[in-house]
């Protein structure tokens, strides 16, 4: 039998042209702008809190929410990007901590602050590189590798400082640029955060490397068969993840001028929560940096909203836990819904 390419009806009746019903259009919109859900939920939440609590609806409170969000949000970008390629990093809180120490010690020792900052980032990237190489080459789950790294670098901090806090004593001019207030509105970290998010979103959605990241997380074997350097992608993303955790840590040092061993504790879970609330699949293969930003803001809004409403700060953890659970169910639910509605029977 010969197939004529211009023949409108194919042999097995597969011709989807002209079947543009409402459901398909909604489906396509959800696919194109996956952040729509978290965005509308966030707007709703801010609206409710703003109406409900007078001291919540102030410029100061909004900007402080963003500043808090930026801190974990920068880490969430790296965690999310790595998760999209199918791996976890739970050592980011410890890397964040060790970065504060690297930066302070090198600057205190006389290295000019911008250089100390840069070297800190490089060292943190190397930490991620090592995590990645171990994960990929020894085939140990990244959860275990980074659990070990999490304990190692926090322990290293305590050994190096003997448990005492370390203060920044060098020139502070550069610190203004990192974490100061330029536009008399919010901290520069917010600006760095948004810039990083935009860059990473563009890389993820619009470049060849981004396509490799999505494929690596979506189906590593299929990606490999198509010629994607899967291991290299993962290792690069581990390095990027640690680098961003280091950036957030060094920025924190720039603002508070002190490094103490409980900094960044639990940050890995907040960062992963932010990424997941923003639509990153736990299994990898899908996610968004814009979503991760919104997720971090969401978590930060919950945190301060609860305080403004007079709840004890203890309630923040269980509430965030419930929201994380809901986010996972919704993320999965969306794809299940799609499968039910649109997968054409194979049988």
């Amino acid at each position: 039998m010969t197939i004529n390419a211009t023949d409108p009806v194919s042999v097995d009746g597969t011709d989807r042209r002209g079947r543009d019903d409402f459901r398909r259009r909604v489906n396509r919109m959800v696919r194109r702008i996956p952040e729509l859900g978290i965005f509308s939920t966030l707007v709703l939440l801010v609206g409710v809190f703003s109406i409900g609590a007078a001291n919540f609806r102030t410029v100061d409170s909004y900007t402080s929410i963003l500043t808090v969000a930026a801190n974990v949000g920068i880490v969430a970008l790296g965690c999310g990007f790595l998760m999209i390629s199918g791996e976890f990093d739970i050592s980011v809180g410890s890397v964040y901590l060790i970065a504060t120490l690297f930066f302070a010690q090198m600057a205190n020792a006389g290295l000019i602050p911008p250089l100390a900052f840069l070297v800190t980032l490089v060292l943190c990237a190397v930490i991620g590189l090592v995590n990645g190489l171990i994960t990929v080459n020894l085939r140990i789950p990244s959860f275990i590798v980074t659990l070990a790294a999490m304990m190692f670098y926090r322990g290293l901090h305590i050994i190096l400082t003997r448990g005492f806090s370390v203060s920044y004593k060098a020139d502070k001019e550069f610190l203004e640029m990192v974490a100061g207030i330029t536009f008399s509105l919010m901290r520069n970290t917010v600006i760095w955060w948004i810039l990083l998010a935009i860059i990473l979103q563009v890389v993820l959605a619009k470049t060849r490397y981004g396509n490799w990241v999505l494929a690596t997380g979506g189906d590593a074997q299929a990606a490999r068969n198509s010629g994607v350097p899967v291991s290299r992608v993962k290792v690069i993303n581990f390095a990027l993840c640690s680098l961003l955790a280091g950036f957030a840590g060094a920025a924190n040092m720039a603002r508070f001028l002190t490094s103490q061993s409980q900094l960044g504790m639990g940050m890995e879970f907040e960062a992963i929560t932010a990424a997941v609330i923003g639509g990153t699949l736990l299994m990898g293969g899908k996610g968004s940096m814009v979503g991760a930003v919104l997720g971090a803001i969401f978590v930060s809004v919950i945190r301060s909203g609860l305080i403004f409403f007079g709840y004890s700060s203890y309630i923040y953890m269980p509430v965030t836990g419930i929201i994380l659970m809901l986010a996972v169910i919704i993320n999965r639910g969306f794809s299940n819904f799609r499968l039910l509605q649109f997968q054409r029977s194979d049988a």
Binding site: T2, T14, N211, A222, N225, S226, G227, S335
Partner: protein, 266 residues
């Protein structure tokens, strides 16, 4: 159909052992451009192993592979793919949660100015290439997980064609398909012939093989038990070759070991 011209692929005296399992014992095989070779055999007969050697997934224990008249020793599948040989596996090597266009160009993404992905090109080219297989899709952003089995197969095969495949190995492409989709896939093979592709059609379904193949090779416990043009065989003869006792050169002991280790999934 008679044998003309030099074969595009010639495999000679191929042996392959995995530990104690002798998966292939002295198999010869020729492929010709524009022809479909039906590679048949029961589960564990060595079909997949043979094409994996052809595509450089692993080297043969003994024997040679010639491609376009020259002996080749592929280091890996990427190398053979770059030369125009490709296996389309049963799971197709597609990423289910990525869309059609992204899957189509995975690993070979076209870039426009500034180095960004050229989405317009990716969308139009992928849909056009799939339409040439007789499958008409209208949304290149549709996720592959929402496609039917036949549509996925058309995507995988059209992708290989688009990137200049010359020897295409389809490993059990009709397994787990509906009757309608099976027909669509068998029709795809006519398209491959018209395009001058040398196709290896692996199946253990004699009727599927008989419908589209020009030539048959049957393996039985790693031994080639039949090698004939379509004109010279009947489906009954093919069935006989596949399920019958393999030839005498095999001892009953080694045969039992080999069959016993047969992988039912393949």
């Amino acid at each position: 159909m008679t044998d003309t011209g030099t074969p595009i692929v010639r495999m000679t005296d191929i042996h392959k052992s995995f530990g104690h399992v002798q998966a292939l014992r002295g198999v010869d095989l020729d492929l010709h451009a524009g022809r479909v070779l039906g590679l048949i055999g029961d589960n564990g007969a060595g079909k997949t192993t043979l094409v994996k050697i052809m595509a450089g997934v692993f080297p043969p224990s003994r024997g040679t592979v010639h491609y376009k008249g020259e002996q080749v020793r592929w280091k890996n599948p990427s190398q053979s793919r770059a030369s125009g040989l490709e296996i389309v596996y049963q799971d197709l090597g597609l990423v289910p949660i990525m869309n059609i266009a992204r899957n189509f160009f995975l690993g070979k993404e076209p870039r426009s100015r500034w180095g960004f992905l050229d989405f317009d090109h990716m969308a139009t080219e992928s849909l056009r290439a799939i339409a040439e297989m007789g499958i008409f899709l209208d949304d290149a952003e549709e996720l592959v997980e929402n496609l039917s089995g036949g549509e996925r197969k058309a995507l995988a095969i059209s992708r290989s064609l688009y990137f200049g495949v010359q020897v295409l190995m389809l490993d059990e492409p009709t397994a787990a398909l509906s009757v309608k989709e099976t027909h669509a896939v068998l029709d795809l093979m006519e398209t491959l012939k018209e395009r001058g592709i040398a196709t290896v059609f692996i199946t253990h379904n004699i009727h599927h093989a008989y419908a589209v193949s020009d030539h048959f090779v049957a393996l039985n416990a790693g031994v080639k038990v039949l090698d004939a043009d379509k004109a010279d065989v009947t489906p009954e003869m093919l069935t006989e070759a596949v399920i019958g006792e393999p030839l005498a050169q095999v001892t009953s002991h080694s045969l039992a070991a080999s069959v016993g280790n047969g992988n039912p999934e393949n």
